[in-house]
Amino acid sequence: MAKQILSPLPGTFYRRPAPDQPVYKNEGDSVAVGDVIGLVEVMKSFNEVKSTEAGKIVKFHAENEDAVMAGQPLADLE
């Protein structure tokens, strides 16, 4: 099974640092451990989601502004 990045918290997932800025990562981008791939807003506080693995993002499972649960896969890596 490919590696996955899981949401560390429940909340709202954002792929961009701000609405008028580009996404942190696109599908096909490579990531290193600690790279920020998105934000999860929980109770009005914003938390960075960092990759826990190195690899290439093959697919995002959550879109911008999706509601996510803790432990939910956000992206597949290879």
Binding site: G11, E41, M43, K44, S45, E65
Partner: protein, 456 residues
């Protein structure tokens, strides 16, 4: 016409509060809710409920067309906006009027005027209410700004005209910082509020936050005395009380009269709060802003005056004249409210949603707990962290603090971290006991008392 069917366009403890007041008046209650709130206490308590959208507030509790549509579908004749969300949104008040719905609050014009902090400042000046020294109106160029600062000196606050509730504020300590912060503040205000207008206010060091509760019917207004909310973290209130023991009787009379004068000058209808800074060294007070809605901390006023503020709002919105005269309003004893948030004080107040495995609610004489919790409830992560408000009343302030400590010990919320430990530490602090605090006191206290806030 009295309200018969009320849509509650809010959530959490305030939705529960509104349902209670409405049902006591024989009003049919309809709870509007996001899909994340289908299991909420408010939905369980209301006569009926209607979904208005997905979890994210922008798509549900802030979605004006969805709320108006829900009101029509459920044949509501009135909408209560609570606090936050659309409570101070003039466009929403307009949309209600267009749809033939009563908006439980002031007119859209009053919201608009008080929502523009510069217009509110000007209205206060016209009504003879003292304001914080600063710019006369909006500051459009650095030349005007420098003239203002020549009189006020540094540090100076740069505030967004469309801001409020502690948002859109920057403090500059010197001219270089000022020149750097103004463009930032303008851009941020434009992005956050759709209005880049700025104004300037002198920084009042060591001020207390004192606010006056008013009720008006569009013609006449009364006050229900003041609340003191000086204990704040990041400009959010943490602990609120009524009355303020720092206020001499003569100052209280002047302060409350100024609030009534301003409310009457703007033909205010419903419940509202005028916020002031109070300098207890000089005895001077300065109007800062008006909140055109019910406030989180309204129960402390209800405890000392016996007036049910949400009931009065509903009656006024239903077309009744203000029933109370100023001479009907007395205060007795002392009330304190503490906010129980789903935050971990030991981890820099990190939000902590989760499932409530155990709930023991405090009770007894003079204790009130307004909450959205029930045992087994899973707190959704999409909204603010307020879980409940513990409010106590007793004959005087020392007795109220003792009662607060007793009630905090009874309160048990299992499964989630809360700010209960912060309030136990504050209630035991000598500076809190003597009310020797100001709006920036708590942040300093938190830095030096982190160890007292270890996880429970």
């Amino acid at each position: 016409m009295p309200i018969k069917r009320l849509l509650i366009a809010n959530r959490g403890e305030i939705a529960v509060r509104i349902i209670r007041a409405a049902r006591e008046l024989g009003i049919h209650t309809i709870q509007a809710h996001s899909t994340a709130d289908v299991d909420s206490l408010a939905v369980k308590l209301a006569d009926e409920a209607i979904a208005i959208g997905p979890p994210q507030a922008a798509k549900s509790y802030l979605n004006i067309p969805a709320i108006i549509d829900a009101a029509k579908k459920t044949q509501a004749d009135a909408v209560h906006p609570g606090y936050g969300f659309l409570a101070e949104n003039a466009e929403f008040a307009d949309a209600c009027a267009v749809a033939g719905l009563v908006f439980v609050g002031p007119s859209a014009n009053a919201i608009r005027m008080m929502g523009d902090k510069v217009a509110a400042r000007e209205a206060a000046m016209r009504a003879g209410v003292p304001t914080v020294p600063g710019s006369d109106g909006r500051v459009d160029d650095l030349e005007t700004a420098r003239r203002v600062i020549a009189e006020t000196g540094f540090p100076i606050m740069i505030k967004a005209a469309a801001g409020g509730g502690g948002r859109g504020i920057r403090i500059a300590a010197n001219p270089e910082e000022f020149d750097r912060l103004v463009p930032q503040a303008k851009a941020e205000a434009l992005a956050a509020f759709g209005d880049g207008g700025l104004y300037l206010e002198k920084v009042i060091e060591r001020a207390r936050h004192i606010e006056v509760q008013i009720l008006g019917d569009g013609h006449r207004a009364i006050h229900c005395f003041e609340r003191e909310c000086s204990l704040q973290r990041r400009r959010q209130k943490v602990w609120e009380e009524a009355p303020s023991i720092s206020l001499p009787e003569a100052v209280r009379r002047k302060l409350c009269a100024s609030a009534v004068a301003l409310a009457e000058a703007v033909h205010y209808s419903g419940a509202g709060t005028l916020e002031y800074l109070y300098d207890d060294a000089s005895g001077d007070f300065y109007f800062i802003e008006m909140n055109t809605r019910i406030q989180v901390e309204h129960p402390v006023t209800e405890f000392i005056t016996g007036v049910d503020l949400v009931r009065e709002m509903l009656k006024i919105a239903g077309g009744e004249k203000l029933r109370l005269k100023q001479s009907d309003i007395f205060m007795r004893g002392h009330a304190i409210e503490v906010r129980i948030n789903a935050e971990d004080p030991a981890q820099n107040f990190m939000p902590a949603p989760g499932t409530v495995t155990e709930l023991r609610v405090p009770g007894g004489n003079g204790v009130r707990f307004d909450t959205l919790l029930y045992q087994g409830y899973t707190i959704p992560p999409f909204y603010d962290s307020l879980l409940g408000k513990l409010i106590v009343w007793d004959e005087d302030r020392p007795a109220a603090i003792a009662r607060l400590i007793r009630a905090l010990h009874e309160l048990q919320i299992g499964g989630v971290k809360t700010t209960r430990s912060l309030h136990l530490a504050l209630a035991a602090d000598p500076a809190v006991a003597s009310a020797q605090f100001h709006t920036r006191w708590l942040e300093g206290w938190l830095e030096s008392n982190a160890t007292k806030l270890a996880a429970e």
